[in-house]
Amino acid sequence: MVKEIERHGLPVVHMCTVVPISLTVGANRIVPTVAIPYPLGNPALEPAEEKELRRKLVRQALKALSTEIDDQTVFKTL
């Protein structure tokens, strides 16, 4: 889906947990996420902390969308 949207000219960032799959199928901008059942969350954290984690990940996604790239790039959140 990521590639097809990008084929239409829209920059897309793939936020996903199993990065090797995203790389193999050819997503260009990838942001690794937390876990399969909760990519943008973490039920082990307090709600406020979880939301901050989510915000950090989304900010990384926006950074990926704003970065010119030549090739597939994984934007890890530090």
């Binding site: 889906m1 990008e6 000219g9 897309v12 399969i36 059942p37 990519p39 943008l40 939301k51 010119e68």
Partner: protein
């Protein structure tokens, strides 16, 4: 002849531990066979024994491959096997990835053969088919009755020392051979046929590289319109469009203007391929609507498209996923969206 010792690698579901709610099960080992191992044991009993079964939760392996791999490897090694059977995983993506990674470990570290079964579109197939003999299976466990004998056939050949030349996903390994005529002559002959409009057969089919050039970056996110799309199945509570939990036949388009935050009351996941508990409690964990809306209000993002788009990636064919995405892309372009965040589980 001594019977071969075989170890079987399976996931938490086939081991009878549980379904998605147990997908985080760390590696464990059992003597003898478990689950589908029984069929392999029965069909191989004159030439081999399934001496042990190693099990790992699909999410556990895929989320911690670096730490899970050595543990799984040592568990397999502890049985001193001659061969390892992995899966069959059919189209289960995480399971296929785990089976593939185990086959690679077995091939590289134990230097013994791995035999498995995968549906051709399983992401584990392209990545790992070179490390084992992977029979091409149906896309679901309804194909178990065909997959097991096909895998057994390959195991028997390996035990008998016979060459295995077909019946598995091509590994992409080259074998040298002496041709009757040298390459330059064969190439010229082929070219003459091509120029003459005659049929010719390539000696090397070109792989299909389906890559898309990266789209230009967004110049200023603070002025950009973003859209949210997901293959993780995030839908309004009640799944009004009845998007299927597997092999989705459609995608949904949902108005997000009246939702600032997902709760157990207004959102749920339709996706059947992961433990839904966490997404059902708070769908923001799959579609980050709450923080995106705050970022729009704070001016970090220009604006958010009025709708989110969702489908279920679980077992959905590449062709269908492409079709849905093409329709979504056209709508986004019509709505002057500048960039897309697509989340997957």
């Amino acid at each position: 002849m001594e019977k071969w010792k075989i170890v079987h690698y399976i996931n938490q579901f086939y081991a009878g531990i549980g379904g998605e709610e147990k997908a985080a099960t760390p590696p464990e080992k059992h003597d003898g066979h478990l689950g589908p191992g029984m069929a392999f044991a029965a069909q191989l009993k004159d030439v081999a024994d399934i001496v042990g079964t190693v099990v790992c939760g699909d999410s556990y392996f895929n989320e911690h491959p670096e730490s899970a791999s050595p543990v799984v490897l040592e568990m397999i090694r502890s049985f001193s096997p001659d061969l390892v059977i992995v899966g069959p995983a059919f189209n289960a993506g995480r399971y296929g990835m785990a089976c593939g990674m185990v086959a690679k470990l077995v091939d590289e570290e134990l230097k013994i053969p791995a035999v498995g079964g995968l549906y051709a579109e399983n992401p584990g197939a392209d990545l790992y088919k070179r490390y084992g003999y992977f029979v091409e299976t149906a896309n679901s466990a309804t194909g178990m009755r065909q997959a097991v004998p096909a895998m057994v056939g390959i195991v028997r050949k390996l035990i008998a020392g016979e060459p295995v030349t077909e019946g598995y996903l091509p590994k992409g390994l080259r074998k040298n051979y002496f041709a009757a005529e040298r390459g330059s002559k064969r190439a010229v002959d082929m070219l003459l046929k091509k120029l003459g409009g005659e049929d010719f057969t390539t000696e090397y089919p070109m792989p299909v590289f389906d890559r898309v050039a990266p789209a230009p970056a967004v110049k200023d996110i603070a002025k950009a319109k973003i859209a949210l799309v997901s293959s993780g199945g995030p839908v309004p509570k009640g799944n009004p469009d009845r998007i299927e939990s597997s092999s989705a036949s459609k995608f949904g388009k949902y108005d997000l203007r009246n939702i600032d935050d997902f709760t157990a009351e207004n959102g749920e996941t339709a996706h059947g391929g992961y433990d839904p508990v966490y997404a059902n409690e708070d769908l923001d964990r799959v579609l980050p609507l709450d923080v995106v809306k705050e970022m729009v209000a704070a001016g970090e993002i220009g604006s958010l498209h009025d709708y989110w788009y969702a489908t279920v990636g679980n077992g959905t064919s590449v062709a269908n996923a492409k079709k849905y995405a093409a329709e979504i892309a056209k709508e986004l372009l019509d709505a002057n969206v500048n960039a897309v965040i697509l989340t997957s589980t």
